[in-house]
């Protein structure tokens, strides 16, 4: 039987060599695609910095747009508008999204839950411009005018499904035996959910919320139909309001060099905002044992 053993050895030897080559090749492919993805990000970043950073100055950050023909001016109204609308949208969207996620994970059974989950998935994949149109019909038309409220509503509508599904997935990672441990201590179900299940997944949920905020902070399309734009500083939520993405859009397609430059500067600020939000979340939220693994 020694020849058989020899054959096996030859065979495995051959297989080993081939396996090693294949493994090398696949690793190379993987690194290549990772590199491609990373270099895209880096080049977008670099380009925005290169085009935008030179035009960022105090005047740009703190003053309002000048009328056509005058030089100077900034995007202060747009910064404030984006902050305000993202804030208003978050006030509605975050609790709504989290509650929906808790429902889906902890109580959601049967047809109704299936329907909710399905609609959330659909809503999450609907193009944001359609969300804008929807809010236009729902709020802008009845109120007879564009408004920051309508803008915030469209942002909230984009946030809700993202946060809900993320929360649901995270809560489902919490092993069931922890819920049972809580219930067995004579703790009511809602308290078990709030103090044991949710608390343990707080890190992941916060990350999801931050990513949702970052996502809507850069939305342009839904704001075009809802908040429109405003050349003046406006803090009244029932009036049209400027926002950074819309301002960038408007300035970028304008036939004036200075506006184009300001668009780049605005893009730079937006990218930095999103970047800081992402990094900040990662730094702030240390992964806890619960919710990330068993």
């Amino acid at each position: 039987m020694s020849s058989l053993r020899g054959q096996i050895r030859d065979f495995t030897h051959l297989r080993y060599k081939r396996r090693k080559l294949l493994s090398l090749f696949i690793s190379f492919l993987l690194s290549l695609s990772a590199l491609a993805a990373a270099s895209c990000l880096i080049s977008v970043f670099g380009y925005v910095i290169w085009k935008g950073l030179p035009h960022v100055n105090l005047d740009f950050l703190l003053s309002l747009p000048k009328p056509v023909g005058e030089t100077g001016g900034g995007m202060f109204n747009a910064f404030l508008g984006t902050l305000l609308m993202v804030f208003l949208g978050s006030v509605v969207g975050i609790p709504w999204g989290i509650l929906t996620g808790v429902y889906l994970s902890e109580y959601g059974r049967g047809k109704f839950a299936f329907l909710v989950r399905f609609s959330a998935d659909m809503l999450a994949s609907v193009p944001s411009i359609v969300v804008g149109l929807f809010i236009y019909v729902l709020i802008v038309k009845p109120m007879r005018g564009f408004s920051a409220l309508a803008g915030a509503a469209s942002l909230a509508l984009i946030m809700i499904p993202i946060i809900a599904r993320n929360t649901e997935e995270l809560l489902k990672l919490v092993p069931n035996h922890l819920r049972e441990a809580g219930l067995a201590l004579g703790i009511p179900r809602w308290k078990v959910i709030l103090r044991i299940v949710l608390r343990g997944s707080l890190g992941g949920i916060t990350t999801g919320v931050m990513l949702a905020i970052a996502r809507v902070a850069g939305e342009t399309a839904p704001l075009l139909f809802t908040a429109l734009n405003n050349r003046f500083l406006n803090l009244n939520p029932t009036q049209p309001m400027a926002s950074l993405p819309v301002q960038i859009y408007t300035y970028a397609i304008a036939p004036f060099d200075e506006w184009n430059q300001q668009a780049w500067a605005g893009a730079f600020v937006l990218v930095i905002f999103v970047f800081v939000l992402n990094l900040g979340t990662r730094w702030l939220v240390k992964p806890t044992a619960l919710g990330t693994r068993d």
Partner: protein, 253 residues
């Protein structure tokens, strides 16, 4: 009997269409240890989970029959399962301390979440429960460490302390030592015997020596039915039922 703390009458349990328990009758005397034995899947876990109404938390699960706890049926329509679970504590097969909480917070979790906030009370209860669970000496210097940082055996005793902290008159234990080494197992067995003077214990075990060592009475389950229930010493030496004898002599199961 008047001094029975728990008496089960005609208890049936289902998972959807599947009937896991078939009309179980069983009485448990105060300050006793009752062991539940039987082959895998015979319904031991289901049975203990019916005693604190945890069974019904499984989607699709249901139960019928009576479980009289200190004379009152816990399945009466107006009974709040949360209050039952404060009286009937439970320790699970796998140690399951709350991961985000410290040793101390794990022990007092039941009290804290019931709204008790006085530090002095919590401290007192934590020490008392940890001593009862024979864990105090080992963890008194690391009460603020994560509960999950303890060894498996210590974690299980932590879970026992956590269950004891809400002072339940009855403690259910579902194979509490099956994930543990012999030394931790011996500690927990000793603990069970100690605890008997304060509370009543119902324990599922696959280890027949363990049942023989620590229990006063033993119940043998098979395919969702209670085959035999009696004093441990006689059940293991002169079983009345053929099936019991076959099981304890290792002829099947």
């Amino acid at each position: 009997m008047p001094d029975d703390i728990l008496s089960v009458e005609g208890l049936c349990a289902w998972f959807g269409e599947h009937q896991a328990l078939k009309s179980i009758d069983l009485n448990v005397a105060s300050h006793s240890v009752t062991a539940l034995i039987g082959p895998s899947g015979c319904g031991k876990s289901t049975f203990v989970r019916c005693l604190n109404r945890l069974h019904e938390e499984v989607p699709g699960a249901s139960a019928s029959g009576k479980v009289l706890l200190q004379g009152k049926n816990i399945y009466d329509a107006n009974v709040d399962p949360v209050l039952i679970r404060r009286k009937v504590g439970m320790v699970f097969q796998k140690p399951n301390p709350f991961p985000a909480l410290s040793v101390f917070d794990n022990v007092v979790a039941g009290l804290k979440l019931a709204g008790i906030r006085r530090k002095s009370v919590l401290k007192e209860v934590a020490e008392k429960s940890l001593r009862q669970a024979a864990l105090w000496e080992e963890v008194k210097d690391k009460l603020d460490k994560a509960g999950t940082s303890l060894s498996g055996g210590q974690q299980q005793r932590l879970c026992i302390a956590r269950a004891l902290a809400v002072e339940p008159p009855i403690l259910l234990m579902d194979e509490p030592t099956s994930a543990l080494d012999p030394i931790s197992t011996a500690k927990i067995e000793e603990l069970v015997v100690q605890l008997k003077k304060d509370i009543t214990i119902i324990m599922v075990t696959h280890n027949m020596q363990q049942a023989a060592r620590i229990s006063d009475r033993t119940a043998f389950f098979l395919l969702g039915e209670l085959i035999e229930f009696g004093d441990t010493s006689s059940l293991f030496t002169v079983p009345k039922e053929k099936k019991t004898e076959q099981y304890i002599t290792g002829k099947f199961g």
